[in-house]
Symmetry: C2
Subunit: 296 residues, 2 copies
């Protein structure tokens, strides 16, 4: 597609980031270098960092409303209007959602969308894709464009270069081609491998790859596996994998599980495979230790 | 220790390799380059390869004797005398055991040791260490020296260089320092990190590192995990780890389990850790999906 080629035309954009945590900060640095103009809003106070980066920051504060029913307390929330209003009124070309997977629905539902002054492209970067697509299609009025993306890298793997790193995207509802193309150019120009793919296809593949990788890293961490004086190269690789993966928040890991419908099945597959490997070892051990069985 | 420094004196050795499979072949190539003179013996016919490498090859053939008891068939075996005799009479300085972990005991018990014409250093390279130490101390007469070693690398990880790769050794019974030192120099001169350590300490650490790595690779292989179009860097690392580890024989993997007394415990630890990670995910999912629980 023409949008994915690094030689396609592009223009600088006004990008408003919602959720200025680890990943939002990481992306913003490249965007600033490319000349895009950034504003940000987040639950926590990132004003000092934003000031240092030259980003206008608008903090929003949730107001939780507890609805007490016979047996349950239902919780709903919305953002305090003043700062979020000013953030939305900044007339961004793109609103980039970089919140955690688990908070996306609450965050999106608390945006006073009527404050938007112009058609805007909504983009999310969540590590699961069907969930944000569903939530956003439900909440966004039809005149707002939607691009669902997953940059398959983070502050560690993309620290030195984005060259050759995978960038998945699904053009869910795009009318303003120029804005969408300019946004994709942020990644294409950095050398990312641009992969257009449905959100469903992404989730199927990512449960088998990314979720599995995170699960193995969490298991190694649970076991307190550390470097030894007699490491093999492959074991060193595992220790490093554990360490880089554990830099991600637990929210991110549990989001990969809770909001990817294929993840439960992959967790089951992992358990079954471990059980099979163990059973084969025990069978082999019994063969070896039972002198009545012919070996080799 | 002076034996581990790459500047220690050394001389070329006559080395007889028992077990000329993947790893024996791999080691022999470096030894030949360093000027050592190699002979080999093995169960299978490696005569053509040995001819190409300039190695004298003596094939031995097991003779199995089945002793039928009331309920069991006991199996014992010895090597055919002629070729093994000629191998032993070649007056080697070192006999290097490169057989599989599972076959070591049979192989060692079938060597007609009385054919040795001179004191000889026995060295093993098995990936477990207490087991060969015990077997060899039981079988070798006290005038034969014994060095137990584990080069923590193989044909893949040591393909381009051995620089910085770990080499573990335990000087179990050494009188001829010159021969032992010259043997260790093979690895020290190639830049290996020389680590003197007891066989027990090795097995404790290796169950947690190497056995765990192999188990994870076997589990990924059991799951038929393959590269996807949207791999993250860490997932690519896992796929590569699976592929390089699966080049090792199943005999090697099961040997790591059956003859390292710490391996069963580590397998259990792995299962428990996976169960814990799963339980935490399910608890978190219930929290998220139960609106009566306060989140975030
Ligand atoms: N890290 C990566 O390598 C990577 C790569 C690709 C995609 N992603 C995706 O990028 C997004 C952000 O990831 P992350 O690494 O920064 O860590 P994360 O833990 O997944 O998300 C942290 C972000 O979520 C916000 N947040 C968390 N709980 C919230 C709540 N209850 N209400 C409002 N906001 C909330 C945080 O806001 P405050 O900072 O204001 O508290 C912060 O901006 C995630 O969707 C993740 O899947 C991450
Ligand atoms: N591969 C590595 O990266 C590596 C690294 C460090 C240490 N090691 C150790 O090196 C040794 C050899 O490893 P490997 O990779 O070559 O593969 P392996 O499958 O562990 O062992 C293959 C060798 O064992 C011999 N063998 C197997 N069953 C036998 C039997 N019943 N009777 C007699 N000989 C038998 C084979 O002889 P034939 O070829 O004649 O059939 C071959 O020489 C193992 O103890 C392993 O733990 C391997």
């Amino acid at each position: 597609m023409s949008t994915t080629s690094s030689s396609s035309p592009w223009r600088t954009l006004k990008i408003g980031i919602i959720g200025f945590g680890t990943f939002g900060q990481f992306l913003s640095k490249t965007m600033i270098k490319q000349g895009h103009s950034i504003t940000a809003t987040s639950r926590s106070d990132h004003s000092q960092l934003c000031h240092d980066l030259g980003i206008s920051f608008y903090r929003y504060i949730y107001i939780y409303i507890y609805i007490v029913c016979v047996f349950h307390v239902f919780i709903t929330c919305f953002a305090t209007p003043r700062d979020m209003d000013r953030f939305l009124e900044a007339e961004n070309d793109v609103i980039l959602l970089c919140t955690s997977i688990l908070s996306l629905s609450n965050v999106v539902n608390s945006i006073p969308l009527h404050r938007l002054k112009r058609p805007t492209l909504f983009v999310d970067v969540l590590s699961v894709k069907e969930h944000p697509k569903e939530v956003l299609l439900q909440v966004l009025p039809p005149e707002l464009d939607l691009l669902c993306t997953h940059p398959m890298f983070g502050p560690q793997s993309g620290r030195d270069s984005w060259e050759g790193l995978n960038f998945m995207y699904d053009r869910v509802r795009i009318r303003d081609e120029a804005v969408c193309s300019s946004f994709l150019q942020i990644f294409a120009r950095k050398g990312c491998k641009m992969l257009e793919m449905s959100c469903e296809e992404h989730d199927k593949l990512a449960a088998r790859s990314q979720f599995l990788t995170h699960t193995i890293a969490r298991v190694l961490s649970e076991m307190k596996v550390e470097s030894t004086p007699i490491d093999t190269k492959n074991f060193q690789t595992l220790v490093q994998l554990k360490e880089t993966t554990m830099n991600n928040s637990y929210d991110l890991f549990s989001g990969l599980f809770i909001h990817n419908k294929y993840a439960q099945e992959e967790l089951k597959n992992l358990e079954v495979a471990l059980e099979k490997v163990k059973q084969n070892l025990l069978d082999r051990m019994n063969e070896e230790l039972d002198p009545s069985v012919s070996k080799h």
